[in-house]
């Protein structure tokens, strides 16, 4: 065996021996067991995660609902116009529009006077609201 090629030639005639009996079954079973043991998301953990997610959604919705109610009550106490309500000017414009729809030939001065009367009416209506709040405050206490 004086040549490098001789060594290679002899080695090329070697063939692989089969593994021990039952090797495939043992290896695949072992791998499967390891995969099960090291799985991060166990069924219990998945269920817990799903439960927590549902709870979080419920709490968020409840919080949103409670906050809305509290905001509306607080606004009524502080005499603030709720975000969705119409402004003072819009209410008068709407009332003016409804009135003028049935009346023709109204000059500028009459329209101005009419606006003033609506404004006075609305101020009177607004001035009545503190009585209601006082009652609410009494009930709260």
């Amino acid at each position: 065996m004086n040549d490098r090629d001789d060594v290679e030639k002899i080695m090329e005639r070697f063939s692989g021996k089969p593994g021990p009996p039952g090797l495939k079954e043992r290896v695949l079973k072992g791998a499967e067991q390891k995969a099960k043991a090291r799985r991060i998301m166990t069924p219990l953990l998945s269920a817990a995660l799903a439960g927590c997610s549902v709870l979080l959604i419920i709490l968020t919705l409840a919080d949103w609902q409670i906050s809305g109610t509290q905001e509306r009550r607080l606004n009524s106490f502080l005499r603030l116009t709720p975000a969705g309500d119409m402004s003072f000017k819009k209410i008068i414009d709407q009332k003016m529009g409804e009135f003028l729809a049935n009346v023709t030939d109204v000059d500028i001065i009459t329209a101005r006077n009419l606006r003033r009367s609506f404004l006075a009416q609305e101020k009177v209506a607004k001035a009545r609201r503190p009585d209601i709040r006082l009652k609410e405050e009494i009930y709260e206490n």
Binding site: N2, I10, M11, F14, G16, G19, L23, K24, A31
Partner: protein
């Protein structure tokens, strides 16, 4: 790809490779389980792999390296060439009794990294490029390791007569 068919294709070859790399059939089986556990994890991504044989042998090699680092077996292996000779004879069948014994003894004398290349090249029929991909080395390095390894074997066999 099904994991059973993956074993049918490469399982036995990987077992032989791991037995020689680790110097123990028992350790090879443990590491092979770990390899197949990894392959189960990667199963969805396996269809995107270009060369499946290189990929699975690379996983096997990485696992074997990890095992050797944790068990510090490499040193033990180096001290026991007769154990490695036996392991080689258990894994590969020679054309006759004497050549099987001589080649196994010669291969056991070769350093681990050179032996690994010789086993994969000659016994498992891989190319230098494939072995380079498995070992994360250049093809030139792999070819050199092969040449040095074969040369050492030749000298050993020459001395043996």
């Amino acid at each position: 790809m099904k994991i059973e068919s993956l074993f049918d294709q490469f399982g036995e070859a990987m077992y032989r490779y791991l037995t020689i790399k680790l110097g123990s059939a028992r350790d090879a089986e443990d590491v092979l389980q770990e390899v197949f556990f990894r392959l189960v994890k990667y199963s969805t991504r396996l269809r995107f792999v270009r060369n499946l044989r290189v990929f699975v042998f690379r996983v096997a090699r990485n696992e074997a390296e990890r095992f050797l680092r944790s068990k510090i077996q490499e040193e033990k292996l180096a001290r026991q060439p007769e154990l490695l000779t036996e392991v080689l004879r258990q894994s590969y069948l020679g054309p006759d009794e004497s050549s099987e014994r001589f080649i196994s003894e010669a291969l056991a004398k070769v350093p681990n990294d050179q032996r690994e290349v010789i086993v994969l090249k000659i016994f498992e029929g891989m190319t230098f490029n494939e072995i380079a991909d498995i070992s994360a080395e250049s093809s030139n390095t792999i070819a050199s390791r092969y040449r040095y390894g074969i040369e050492k074997m030749r000298i050993f066999l020459e001395e043996k007569g």
